[in-house]
């Protein structure tokens, strides 16, 4: 009896969670954690935890002293706090979000990618972009999400919101 009511309710709440006022669905759960934004967002875009699986975050948080050729170490309490936050919001925890689901599906079970840019889904989505658009100084690398994805901060990576510096909109064929 209850199941009949509760399950549809859960489904509905899942569908409408994090929609903006125009009903645009976010691609990945947006980041709302101020400590994550402060600590991880000071050197780079605070990538949504839903862009990588739990095992990737766990591996990354276990070696912040050697974080992509940089020392990103934190005190033990903050490291533990953020590791838990990432774990609780990893791609597996947000499969109702399109990008989390697709990234997850594109990673083999034995793979533990540390770079979102090296997941198969990401590569397929970006492999047609001419190199000159990426290496120009306004962009630098594909890890610099927000410079082209104007709504990346909100967890929205829709094609409509792409604006590549000096080149403008992007249409995927």
């Amino acid at each position: 009896m209850y199941k009949k009511i509760i399950i549809p309710l859960i489904l509905i709440s899942g569908v409408y969670a994090d929609d903006d006022r125009w009903g645009n669905r976010n691609d990945v759960a947006p980041v709302k954690n101020a400590i994550y934004i402060k600590e991880c967002g000071s050197c780079h875009f605070a990538y949504q935890p839903g862009l990588l699986p739990q095992r990737s975050w766990t591996k990354m948080m276990g070696n912040l002293e050697n974080h992509f050729d940089s020392d990103a170490s934190l005190d033990d309490a903050t490291t533990k706090y953020l590791a838990n936050y990432l774990k609780a919001n990893s791609a597996e925890k947000g499969i109702e979000y399109k990008r989390s689901r697709k990234i997850l599906q594109s990673i083999r079970p034995n793979e533990v990618p540390l770079r979102i840019t090296q997941t198969r889904y990401f590569i397929n989505k970006h492999d047609e972009i001419p190199k000159k658009m990426i290496i120009q100084k306004e962009v630098g690398s594909l890890a610099n999400c927000t410079v082209c994805h104007t709504t990346a901060n909100k967890g929205n990576y829709s094609e409509r919101a792409i604006k590549i510096p000096n080149y403008g909109a992007w249409k995927d064929d």
Partner: protein, 138 residues
């Protein structure tokens, strides 16, 4: 006696005006006593020495020759930029960025990380104090 103490305190406050915040001054004093312990001839930190540490290139963690200026730029009253991620770094100079050198925890965190990035080791108390004097002067 009370007046005398007050005068000393007041002198301290005046001498410190435009310098480190009271909490940071506490950290500077800790570094001073560590520096003194390491070298009994130590007198005070020096912004000029700090500038040299800040601007000298060294093979760092990434195997590239970098200095603090690689990210922070050589003008500390202007924005810097992380060359790997392109992220803008707000000015380090407290004269234009009041939040700099106010939070000891933050200062310690970045000194630890950035010495390792540039010099592949942590800074000594003397080096950290010198660099802080240099940044504070900007």
């Amino acid at each position: 006696m009370k007046k005398y103490t007050l005068a000393i305190l007041l002198c301290g406050v005046i001498a410190n005006a435009g310098n480190f915040s009271p909490s940071m001054q506490g950290y500077i004093e800790t570094l001073k006593s560590e520096a003194k312990q390491a070298d009994s001839s130590f007198v005070d930190f020096n912004a000029k020495r700090g500038e040299k540490i800040f601007t000298t290139k060294h093979i760092g963690k990434s195997d590239d020759s970098i200095s603090c200026t690689s990210c922070h730029g050589s003008n500390l009253t202007k924005n810097g930029q992380n060359p790997t991620t392109n992220k803008i770094i707000k000015p380090l100079g407290p004269s234009v960025n009041k939040s700099r050198l106010t939070d000891i925890k933050e200062v310690q965190k970045w000194l630890r990380r950035n010495f390792k990035d540039v010099y592949n080791r942590e800074g000594t108390a003397l080096e950290k104090g010198d660099v802080l004097y240099y940044i504070q002067s900007k």
